[in-house]
């Protein structure tokens, strides 16, 4: 291990190294950043991973195609639905299974609700990272409403495991539509408040504008996806490019920014929340009648071959790659998680900034550490 990690605590004149993490308030988990500093200025950042590696990929190889989905809830725990959906979609792709429309709609609504709650949590955490504690609680208030929807329909708040190959586990709860509409009204009425307390705030603007610049070229070459890449002007919304589930049925905009700095990333997510609300509004009254699950065999066996499916999680592009040898469990599974690639651009963005900037960058690329490590 020693040989793999650059062993350079030995530093240039005047530089010193601090270890941010694995236990640190702003790494949002067990991420270890080795930071070379010259005074307050960041010279170099080196992320060290592996503290929360649970080998979900390896584990999945011994689980059946029905069972391996549940573990992906624990990857990006703020987007459990979308992870599960990605797995279900891949298995369906392998089976060439047609999913009923009702299931597609339910999936899309739940995925957008997930995106909304993830962005809300991110918004609160960004405030927290920049030193404003209060927005965190406002964000959690609205997030709690969404969590209640999840709890009522899916039975769990965070790790829902509601997607099964062929559809969703149960039909929606009778209250689902009513509650969702109420919650949307609630959330929409709060957007202005979010802007008042954070977006317009002069301290916040100073902390984020022009900080952590990522150019379009770098974003592409580092494989950065999601809002982080869109803030740099890279069009990469899988929902638009390769629509899955019911995304081809709805009108929404792919928000593109040009700034490439923390503020642009912030604004992209703020707008995406509004887009999510509008997507849900378009779908919620039009859920078609019918089956919520396609018929599948008791033991699912994927044909021999390789299957890949991409989805858009709140953090970027999640890819699920399954190699099947025709058995009842996957031969190999690989998750292309958005957090990992996004993190790889962090050293680039943080270089030359201050420690405070590093924190701001980390929070605006919205890291979820278990997603990076799996």
């Amino acid at each position: 291990m020693r040989g793999l990690i650059e062993d350079d605590y030995v530093t240039d004149e005047g530089e010193f190294v601090i270890n941010i993490g694995p236990q640190h308030p702003s790494t949002h988990g067990v991420l270890h950043l080795k930071v070379w500093l010259d005074g307050e200025t960041v010279k170099k950042v080196q992320p060290h991973l592996g503290f929360i590696h649970r080998s979900i990929e390896k584990m999945s190889e011994s689980l059946s195609y029905r069972n391996f989905i549940f573990a992906t809830s624990r990857m990006d725990y703020l987007a459990a639905h979308i992870n599960n959906e990605a797995c279900a979609l891949t298995v369906e792709k392998g089976l060439q299974l047609e999913v009923p429309d009702r299931a597609k709609y339910i999936r899309t609504i739940l995925a957008e609700l997930t995106r909304l709650q993830s962005h809300l949590l991110w918004w609160g955490c960004t405030g927290l990272d920049l030193g404003a504690v209060t927005p965190f609680f406002y964000a959690f208030r609205e997030r709690e409403y969404i969590m209640e929807i999840m709890e009522e329909t899916c039975g769990a708040r965070l790790t829902q495991n509601f997607m099964v190959p062929g559809g969703v586990m149960y039909d929606i709860h009778p209250n689902f539509q009513k509650r969702t509409k109420e919650v949307l009204i609630q959330i929409k009425s709060k957007f202005q408040e979010y802007d008042n307390i954070m977006t317009g705030n002069v301290i916040f603007e100073n902390r984020t504008k022009g900080v952590g610049f990522l150019s379009k070229e770098d974003a592409i070459s580092y494989g950065v996806t999601g809002p982080t890449a869109r803030a740099s002007g890279v069009s990469c919304d899988i929902r638009k490019l390769i629509p899955y589930s019911a995304y081809d049925q709805v009108q929404f905009d792919e928000i593109l920014g040009t700034g490439g700095d923390c503020y642009a990333r912030y604004m992209i997510r703020m707008h995406e929340m509004k887009q999510s609300v509008s997507i849900i509004e378009q779908l919620i009254d039009n859920i078609p009648e019918g089956e919520f699950q396609a018929k599948t065999k008791n033991v699912i066996k994927l044909p021999k071959g390789e299957f890949y499916q991409r989805v858009e999680t709140p953090r970027g592009e999640l890819g699920v790659f399954i190699v099947s040898d025709g058995a009842a469990s996957p031969y190999r599974i690989k998750y292309r998680s958005p957090g990992f690639s996004n993190l790889s651009a962090l050293p680039l963005m943080a270089k030359g900034g201050k420690i405070g900037d590093l924190v701001a960058i980390m929070s605006t690329i919205d890291l979820v550490i278990p997603d990076i490590d799996r």
Binding site: I18, T134, R207, I355, G356, V359
Partner: protein, 364 residues
Amino acid sequence: MKILLTYSFSSLATYIHNLLAELITNSLLLQVTEMVILGVSLIAFLVVLCFFLGYMERKVAAFMEIRLGPNRVGPKGSMQIVADTLKLLLKEGLTPDSADKFLFNLAPVIMVIGSMMVIAPIAFAKDFQLYDINIGVLYVSAVSSLGVIGILMAGWSSNNKYSLLGAMRSGAQIVSYELSVGLSLISIVVLSGSLSLGDIVRSQENGWWIIKGHIPVIISFVIFIIASTAEINRAPFDMAEAEQELTGGFHTEYAGMKFAMFLLSEYINLFVVSAVAATLFLGGWMPFHIGGLDGFNHIMDFIPSSVWFFSKTFLIIFIIMQFRWTFPRLRVDQLLTLEWKYLLPISMVNVILVTVMAIMGWHF
């Protein structure tokens, strides 16, 4: 002794003094006894005050954050802070192995002493002042910057890079903001013509300075509040702690009682700064008077002067608390930009403005 007699704490102090004088005949002993009583009661007062401020901060924060705040220990959670203090007392006072042990242990003491000393010239009520030193304003601004020594000491002696970074930040910060604080204090000194806090309060008999001195004084008031929030290291200027960046800044390595002493000094500082602001700009214990309206002024006099003082102080404390629970933290270079680019030039111009105003008599 002389101090106590001349600037007596109203009748209570005289009563205690007479009582003691009967019991103890040796004048030196009497003086020492009185000093001890004074010191103990001051410390007791400050500790109780800090309990209250801690409770207040938690409740204020909670209400702003749509929470209930402490509500388990004691009625409405009021004993929570006592429980926390007990916990901190019982915790092991850890000293890191490679720390400079002497300085490490000295730092919190210096912080607390530094902040307690500022209390001396503040008038809590009419004729209720520990020590009406004739250079009160100077004393306040001089002593209040002692804290930075404690912070630097703590940061350096912890032998921790986070602590050192925090200490260095706070060094830069306090030294720069000291200037604005001083300049905004000067504007009141210019107007009232005295450095003694007692005189400054008395000069507001016909109206508080913030009303009498209108725009320039309001500007200095705002600058004072901002700069002193920075000086006492409270969010949004808590660069020295900066939990999300430096995990705890200068007190990363402190635990138990030593940590509690940092908290204590933080709250005393908060109180002192607010009290000074209340004294200088809002008339201290002086009731709300409007020059010329004697009838109205008499009615206002019925409210005890201590109530006036504390309500003004707590108003300012509340504002500073609201800052903390609303704003994000500044970055360290922006912090200095704010001071050197905005606060300092403005307060310099403002001092000139106030001086002209004082000479020309353009105030009420």
